[in-house]
């Protein structure tokens, strides 16, 4: 059985989101003053509207008040959103992803009872996972195919107070959604217990958030400080939460949401170039009638289609892990594979699309330079593609890491 049909629901949600993006997101995202990559605020009104459409809680199960979207559907929605605005897509995707991981998988019933109603009631209740620490080296790099010489130890620590509360101290950086999050899941070391995940509401005294200016990341991103933050004993997540949140339970095979976002950026560039190639006349004909431009557009289309196939395969594999067990799919880190291919191809696509625009392709009040920048961010963010290739190679070589090391390596 080989079947690439989307379900009626998937087609419907894609159309709904595409329509929403065309009507509400694009007009705001394409305003000249918002195209400067050094200075672009979040489109909060549009993000709120998207929340009302259910996109903030997309991946949360239906029984808990979400849309219960599987990995493939989530990727389709993220691509559509990112084709309109990569930042809005990043915010909504992160919250939706964490809503599923936290409320459906990591929280106890008691924890869910405390936090889920607030999450469902408030369109601005965004979620963030604070894991990375300033200066930490999460790259595989020199440790390729060998145990890391020194495992980086977490500096953020939660200790138990006499009444059972947790007291958290530490700093996290590059935290997606940090400046707008209402609830953080924080990766901490707990003496005697090891790596743990703790729930810390953003309004807890002692929590400070610093917006990362010009962060090499989409959406909102920031540094989060915890100074003697006190949270109730029950805020500690269960034993499997760390693996769930870091993706260490499915190394290299997580939901390819970042790659779907990357596809959306490439598609925005492609659509803009295709439109312009029809409109702009030089050499006596519309650009699209010239071979060189036609060739560029064809190459962009090829990259987009093949990249999407790799992303969808990884997403589908995430929804159907049994397909690897029954040998329908190769036993490979399919998401990391999609990451490498998509990020390289989308940067090429965005650069070619920008070239179609001539000088307008580099102007800060025009969208193409933004797409090129956004695509570049996808190529280098986190630990970048060079590292991703080493991770694929370890899988090819059959090299197995201890789960803890994988979690720390940001898998």
């Amino acid at each position: 059985m080989y079947n690439l049909h989307l379900s009626a629901e998937q087609l419907e949600i894609r159309d709904t989101v595409r329509d929403f993006v065309t009507r509400e997101v694009k007009p705001a995202a394409l305003k000249a003053e918002r195209l400067d990559v050094g200075d672009r605020g979040l489109l909060m009104e549009q993000i709120d509207a998207a929340s009302q459409l259910g996109l903030r809680s997309l991946a949360l199960s239906e029984q808990r008040g979400g849309a219960g979207a599987d990995a493939l559907t989530s990727c389709i929605v993220t691509e559509e959103l990112a084709a309109g605005d990569a930042d809005s897509a990043a915010v909504l995707t992160e919250t939706s992803r964490l809503a599923h991981l936290l409320f459906d998988r990591a929280m106890s019933d008691a924890q869910r009872e405390r936090f889920l109603p607030k999450f469902l009631a408030d369109d601005r209740y965004q979620l963030a996972f604070a894991s990375r620490e300033p200066g930490s080296d999460t790259r595989l790099g020199v440790n390729y195919h060998r145990p890391a010489a020194n495992e980086p130890a977490l500096q953020s620590v939660a200790v138990k107070a006499s009444n059972g509360d947790w007291i958290v101290n530490g700093v996290k950086d590059c935290v997606a959604n940090a400046p707008i999050a209402a609830l953080f899941a924080v990766l901490v070391a707990v003496p005697g217990r090891g790596e743990s995940a703790l729930l810390v509401p953003a309004n807890t005294p002692g929590v400070t958030v610093k917006d990362h200016e010009k962060a090499w990341q989409h959406g909102a991103c920031g540094e989060v400080g915890f100074k003697d933050c006190r949270v109730p004993a029950d805020n500690l997540l269960g034993d499997d939460a760390v693996a769930i949140l870091t993706g260490a339970d499915t190394p290299g095979r997580g939901v390819p949401l970042a790659q779907a976002l990357n596809l959306g950026i490439g598609r925005a560039a492609y659509e803009a170039a295709l439109d312009y190639a029809h409109l702009r006349v030089q050499g006596g004909r519309p650009l699209i009638e010239h071979q060189t431009i036609a060739n560029k557009l064809a190459e962009i289309a090829v990259r987009l289609e093949v990249a999407r196939a790799s992303v969808w395969q990884a997403a589908w594999a995430s929804d159907h892990p049994e397909a690897i067990a029954d040998r329908s799919l190769p036993d490979l880190p399919l998401t990391t594979i999609a990451q490498v291919f998509t990020s390289e191809m989308m940067l090429k696509a965005a650069k070619d699309a920008a070239e179609v625009f001539g000088a307008m392709g580099v102007m800060r009040d025009m969208p193409l330079q933004k797409y090129v920048h956004d695509a570049r961010v996808c190529l280098h963010w986190d630990d970048g593609n060079s590292d991703a290739k080493l991770r694929i190679a370890e899988a090819l070589a059959g090299y197995r890491r201890a789960p803890e090391a994988m979690a720390l390596a940001g898998e």
């Binding site: 020199v142 990362h212 030089q282 986190d382």
Partner: protein, 401 residues
């Protein structure tokens, strides 16, 4: 074969290197980070460089300039660009048009403009060709008479009245004198119906519009020019009426105005960026550590560094050969090819540099980011399809001859 530089060439190279490191590099990132396009320009650095001769480097000695050869010019451009590509271009843009003045202007015109240009440290030159609806059409003009630039010039006695606008014009917001291509005959194709005018900044009816906000080459000013019944004396026509395209282009570049210097300029400037990227990448790879070892200990990093240097040295050979050929008056298509090649090289080299740096979470080094943004400019000047086809057609014409 002789790769040695003369004492004079070496002198200019060292002088440029010192100025670049002491004066340009310290302000480079700061100017790049200024958000308003109009404010990135800095007259102080232009004045300092001008006093050292970097503004008037290409003006013949008999007119008070330095009369340097093309090899020297290539060396200086690369040295300045190594500290800031956009600032290097702000200087060399003047050389481009001083070549044009000395090659094609009459003595009377030289007398009127060159001494003033040489004497004033803030006298900057520019040339207006591109218009909102005519970019590629000016560079590869089709025979259709409607294609190409539309700025209209009509003769009224001893004056020409110019109407229309130019876009994306380098140095427009800061220049004092411009070469302007205008349509003087709309009944014939661009090639026959275009005339070049010398237009001083204070010409009545001529003004500067918006300053374009570029993602790269932030320092370098690029703006709109608006002509509303601008009155230019007949004596300001460069060459002859209908002769603009002939004067600046020419097969294989047979004048020193326009293409022949412009092609060399872009590849020499790219070389400076590549040198900066290579040097910084090597330093970083040897000092930054990962897993307790210098990055350079990694095989993949060694290959990335190898490729950066390999491409850069190949580009250097090509650039210097083209400069030398210009000095020997050997005119071929090599300048155009070197320019196209520099577009590929500057982007690959800076992208490799960025890969070595990485974002390390969510932080990209601003210097790396700047080099990559600056290199993207080449896509739209030196390495786009039109620029490549233009060179291919020159090659075809040369092959048939």
């Amino acid at each position: 074969m002789d790769f040695n530089l003369s004492n004079e060439q070496r002198h200019w190279q060292m002088k440029a290197r010192e100025f670049a490191e002491k004066e340009i590099r310290p302000i480079s990132l700061e100017r790049d980070a200024i958000p308003t396009a109009r404010e990135t320009w800095d007259w102080e650095i232009i004045k300092k460089g001008s006093k050292l001769g970097f503004r008037t480097l290409a003006v013949p000695k008999e007119w008070g300039g330095h009369g340097t050869d093309f090899v020297t010019q290539a060396l200086v451009m690369a040295e300045l660009a190594k500290a800031d590509s956009a600032i290097s271009k702000a200087f060399s843009q003047n050389w481009k048009w001083s070549h044009l003045i000395s090659q094609v202007c009459t003595d009377e015109q030289k007398q009127r403009f060159l001494p003033a240009f040489v004497a004033d440290d803030t006298f900057v030159l520019g040339k207006g060709i591109t218009e909102p609806s005519a970019g590629s059409d000016n560079r590869l003009p089709p025979d259709d008479i409607r294609a190409g630039l539309k700025l209209k010039a009509e003769r009224h006695g001893d004056e020409w009245i110019l109407n229309g606008e130019k876009a994306f014009i380098a140095n427009a917001p800061v220049g004092k004198l411009f070469f302007i291509d205008a349509r003087t005959d709309s009944t014939v194709p661009l090639k026959q119906g275009t005339t070049m005018f010398l237009v001083p900044r204070d010409t009545p009816g001529f003004r500067i519009g918006k300053v374009f906000n570029k993602s790269g080459w932030r320092f370098y000013q690029n703006g709109e020019m608006i002509f509303e019944n601008a009155r230019v004396p007949h004596a300001n026509i460069v060459g002859e009426v209908g002769g603009a395209v002939k004067k600046t282009g020419g097969r294989g570049g047979d004048t020193t105005g326009g293409d022949i210097f412009g092609d060399l300029e872009l590849c020499a400037n790219a070389l400076g960026i590549c040198d900066d990227a290579c040097e910084t990448a090597m330093r970083y790879a040897k000092t930054a550590k990962q897993g307790g070892q210098p990055l350079f200990a990694q095989q993949n990093v060694q290959l990335q560094i190898n490729k950066m240097f390999m491409l850069t040295e190949a580009l250097r050979s090509f650039v210097m050969r083209v400069a030398w050929e210009h000095d020997m008056k050997i005119h071929s298509c090599n300048a155009g090819l070197a320019m196209n090649y520099s577009s590929d090289v500057v982007q690959e080299v800076t992208e490799l540099y960025m890969e070595i740096r990485g974002a390390r979470g969510c932080y990209m080094d601003p210097h790396t980011d700047k080099l990559v943004r600056d290199s993207i400019i080449w896509s739209h000047l030196a390495g786009d399809s039109v620029q490549r086809m233009k060179v291919a057609r020159r090659l075809a014409a040369a092959a048939a001859a």
